[in-house]
């Protein structure tokens, strides 16, 4: 089923908003990570690692899931399809991998927040480079997804080519009206 133009625009707006929002949120987490690693103010360092966990649940996870859901809708209900073009397929993989890693990483945020909340833990124990590393990798991954979405590099999958071939044949026989 193909969405009508107005609905398609709305779905596209939702997908772009959530995807770019996710990218921005990851950038903020990278900034927080750098502050946590470099700040000389103990309350600031502890605060950074304590705020990461709730902020991730409130912003990163919803945006990641929303980007995945809107991306699925956008592909399944337009002529792009989900498995027809390599760039769509790669974007799907990037989104799924990043979301799964994020959900697994929530436990790490939990541990880091626990250490940061402990007044007996010294500052060197509270500081952790893991969020900075993961935020950097996530940022790179999401930037690749943005580039794929904008440039849409050519290339159809075997399945996509078969579907297009069938569609052309049916159009030639007048079974399906041309768009």
């Amino acid at each position: 089923m193909i969405m009508p133009p107005r609905l398609r625009k709305f779905a596209l707006t939702a997908h772009v908003t959530t995807s770019v929002g996710w990218l921005g949120a990851v950038t903020c987490f990278l900034a927080l990570s750098v502050i946590g690693l470099t700040s000389q103010d103990p309350p600031t360092v502890r605060g950074v690692y304590q705020v990461m966990k709730p902020a991730a649940w409130l912003v990163l996870v919803p945006l990641a899931l929303a980007a995945l859901l809107t991306g699925l809708i956008q592909s399944l209900f337009t002529t792009w399809g989900l498995f027809r073009h390599y760039w769509v397929l790669f974007k799907l993989l990037i989104n799924v991998v990043a979301t799964v890693v994020l959900l697994q990483y929530m436990e790490t945020f939990n541990v880091l927040a626990g250490v940061a909340a402990d007044p007996r833990a010294d500052l060197a124990s509270v500081r952790n480079a893991s969020p900075a590393l993961h935020a950097t990798l996530a940022l790179l991954l999401l930037l690749v997804a943005v580039v794929l979405a904008i440039y849409k590099p050519r290339g159809m999958t075997r399945y996509g080519w078969r579907r297009q071939h069938d569609l052309r044949r049916r159009r030639n026989h007048g079974v399906v009206p041309a768009q």
Binding site: L93, T108, S125, N128, K152, G160
Partner: protein
């Protein structure tokens, strides 16, 4: 993901068909992406095997959190969640 094209497999600017990119001719960028993905996965697997797992204490880069993270947390009476330091 952008708006839909007039046809699933036509060029945006000229409407030229992309017949040259049939399965027999997988684009070079797809091969490069696939190779990079495989290399990254392999590196992650090797890293996991060498370090014995994955977790917050594995990326400290000499910041002193690996040993104290466990000891401080246990000392403070906050047992780590099972598998948290894998």
């Amino acid at each position: 993901m952008d708006d839909v094209p007039p046809l699933p497999d036509t060029d945006d600017d000229g409407g030229k068909e992309r017949g040259a990119h049939r399965p027999s001719g997988t684009p070079r960028w797809v091969k490069v992406f696939a190779i990079v993905a495989v290399v990254v996965v392999l590196l992650l697997v090797i890293h996991s095997l060498l370090t014995g797992g994955h977790g917050p204490s594995r990326h400290t880069g000499g910041l002193g959190a690996q040993a104290p993270l466990a000891s401080v947390t246990m000392e403070a009476g906050h047992p780590l969640p099972e598998g948290a330091l894998r």
